[in-house]
Symmetry: C2
Subunit: 343 residues, 2 copies
C-alpha cells in the first residue's frame, strides 16, 4: 500500500536498477555519472530520468574500492587545540573550507591531533588512503604529522607558511609582511615617530614576517631600528600586557605600538591604561587579525584583517588542483587595514 518514494527504504537502488530502468547497460550509466563523455544524448537523457525516478545515489564505497580514491578530504588541526578553537577566525576558515568543498561534492573529515596517540592514528588513517588530500592547520615547526604526510605523497595544503617542510608543500597565507607595513605606515602617517612593536613568537613565519614589515617601513622612512622599541610576545593577552610594560620601561617616550595580534593588543591596552597613558592620544595602538577582541576592546582596535574567507576557498582550490595532479603552489593574499578608535 505504502510503497511511495517516502518511508523506510531497505535497499537503495543500485546502478543496475538505473540501467534497467533506462534500458541501457551499467557501463553507460557509469559513464553518465562520470562526466558523460562518449554517451549519446538520448542515452544520457534516459539515464538522467532513471536516476531521478529511482532516487539513485552513487555508493561511494563501491566506487572508492575500485578507483582507489576516497573523494573526501581531511581538515587536520595539529595545533594546540585550545588556541585555535578559541579563535573565531578558525571558525571562518573551517566553515569556508567545508562549504567550498561541498560545492565540489567532497565531504570533509574533521581530524584533531591532540595527543600522540591521535597523531599516530590519524597519520595511519590518512596514509592508508582514506582521504585524498589534507587541509592542514599547523604552525608547529617541524610538525611530525605534516612531515610524514608529505613524505607519503599525500596532497597537502597548509594554512599559513609552514616551517621546516620542504617547498613541496602548498600553502595559502595572508601577506603578513605587507599587513605589518600597512599598519606601520598608518602609524607614521599619524605623525608618530617612536613606534614600538610587540612581536609574535619568532619561531613562526607570521611572527617573523610581521616584524620584518615593521622594520622595512621604518628603514624606508629613514629611521633607525631602536631595539628598545622591540619586545616579543607569544600571541597571548598576558604577553601583550608584559610586553607593553617592558616597552614603557625601556622607552617611555613611545607614542605608538604595533602589536602582532589583537589579543596581545588587548593586553597592551590594559597596561597602557594602568600606566595612565591615553589611547590613542598619548599612544596609538595597532593590532593584527581583526578578531572579535578588536571590537570588544576599548577603545576599539585599529587592526589588520586577514581574508579568511578567501584563504579557505583558495586552500580548497589549491588542494583540489593538487589532487588532480598539479604541482604544489603557494598563494599569498592581501590584507586590509581596518581603522578604528585606537589610532
Amino acid at each position: 500500500m505504502t510503497m511511495g518514494n517516502t518511508g523506510g527504504r531497505r535497499k537503495p537502488p543500485t546502478i543496475h536498477d538505473v540501467a534497467r530502468e533506462a534500458g541501457v547497460s551499467r557501463g553507460t550509466v557509469s559513464r553518465v555519472l562520470n562526466g558523460g563523455h562518449y554517451v549519446s544524448p538520448a542515452a544520457a537523457q534516459a539515464v538522467d530520468a532513471a536516476i531521478r525516478k529511482t532516487g539513485y545515489v552513487v555508493n561511494r564505497h563501491a566506487r572508492s574500492l575500485i578507483t582507489g580514491r576516497s573523494d573526501s578530504v581531511g581538515f587536520l588541526l595539529t595545533e594546540p587545540q585550545e588556541r585555535f578553537f578559541e579563535d573565531p577566525n578558525f571558525n571562518v576558515l573551517l566553515r569556508g573550507c567545508t562549504q567550498a568543498l561541498a560545492a565540489h561534492d567532497v565531504p570533509l573529515l574533521l581530524m584533531l591531533a591532540g595527543t600522540d596517540d591521535e597523531r599516530r592514528r590519524i597519520t595511519r588513517y590518512i596514509t592508508a588512503g582514506h582521504v585524498d588530500g589534507v587541509l592542514l592547520v599547523s604552525s608547529h615547526s617541524g610538525d611530525p604529522v605534516a612531515e610524514e604526510l608529505r613524505a607519503a605523497g599525500v596532497p597537502l595544503v597548509a594554512c599559513g607558511k609552514p616551517i621546516g617542510l620542504g617547498s613541496k608543500v602548498s600553502y595559502v597565507a595572508a601577506d603578513d609582511r605587507d599587513g605589518a607595513r600597512d599598519m606601520v605606515r598608518h602609524l607614521l602617517a599619524l605623525g608618530r615617530r617612536r613606534i614600538g612593536v610587540v612581536t609574535g613568537p619568532l619561531d613562526t613565519p607570521g611572527g617573523v614576517e610581521r616584524l620584518a614589515g615593521y622594520k622595512e617601513v621604518l628603514r624606508e622612512a629613514g629611521m633607525e631600528i631602536d631595539e628598545r622599541l622591540v619586545v616579543s610576545g607569544d600571541y597571548s593577552r598576558a604577553s601583550g600586557e608584559a610586553g607593553a610594560e617592558r616597552l614603557l620601561a625601556r622607552a617611555p617616550d613611545v607614542d605608538a605600538v604595533f602589536v602582532a595580534s589583537d589579543l596581545m593588543a588587548q593586553g597592551v591596552l590594559t597596561a597602557l591604561h594602568r600606566a595612565g597613558r591615553r589611547v590613542p592620544e598619548d599612544v596609538a595602538v595597532g593590532g593584527f587579525d581583526d578578531s572579535p577582541a578588536a571590537v570588544a576592546a576599548s577603545p576599539e582596535l585599529t587592526t589588520i584583517r586577514q581574508p579568511w574567507d578567501r584563504i579557505s576557498t583558495e586552500m580548497v582550490r589549491v588542494l583540489l588542483a593538487q589532487m588532480g595532479g598539479e604541482d604544489p603552489a603557494a598563494v599569498i593574499l592581501p590584507t586590509e587595514l581596518v581603522k578604528r578608535e585606537s589610532t
Copy 2:
C-alpha cells in the same frame, strides 16, 4: 635499494598479505580484526604480528561495501551558521564530539546546511547511507532536514531539545530550567527583590525553559510575577540593549536582571551604564552560557555554565548506542553557577 617501510608506497597491504604473512586464511584475519571471537590465541598473535609487520590498515571502503555501514557519523549544522560559528561553545561541542568519536575510531564528517541546495544534497547523502548516524545542531522548529532524517530512520541525536520532532529523536541538553533557577535564587540571596528578566526567543525550548525557571523561583519565594519585569530578546547583543532600556522604562526600580544569554547581557550592561546605573551596586546582572563574552564584559559576568564537554561526550555515547540498536534517549545535564563581578 631503498625498499624500507618509509618512502612512497604504491599499493597498501591487503588482508590477503596479512593472511599470507601470518600463515592463516583471510577469514581468520577478518575475525581478529572484528573482535577476535572464535580465534585461537596462537592465530590471533600471529595475525597481530603480521599486521604490525606489514603496516596493514583496513580498507574501510571494502568493508563498508559489504557491511552496508560506513562507520562514520555526520555532524550536521542546520542553524543559521553565523550565529553558531561565532559561539565558542559551539567549538567546544564540535571538538568534544570529534574527539569522543575518534576514541571509537569513528570519523566525523562536517556538514553545513546553509542553502536549500545544500540541505537537499546533505539529506540525500545521509539517507543514502553514507553516514551511520547524525549529531544534529538545530533549534529550528520543524527543521525539514531533521524531520526527513528521522523519517528515514537515521540514528539522530540533537543538541538541545528539538522542537516539532516526535519523541523518537534522542537529544542531550543542559538543564536550562534548573540553571535559570540557580541564577534567580542567587539574585534573591543577594537581597534583590525587583528582578527583571530578558528572555531568549520563546519559540525555542531554551528560551521557554529559562523563563520558566525564573518564574518558578519567584513563585517559590512567594512573589508575584510582575510582567513589567519580563522582556524578550533574541539572544543578540542588540536585543539585550533594547531589552534593558524597555525594562528601565517600565520598571525603574529594577535591582537585578537575569539575562538569558551572555551576549544579551553585554547589551544589558551597556544600556545600564548609559542609564547611569552601577553594576552590581544598583543592578545585579546574571547571564547565561559562560561564553567568552562573560569574561570580556566589564564587569565580568556572573553566568550559568553549560557542560559543553559533557554534552558532546553524551551525544556521542547516545548516538553510538542508538546505532547499536538501542532506543532513543534523552539526557539532561546539570549546569553550574559561575559567580563573577556583576552580582
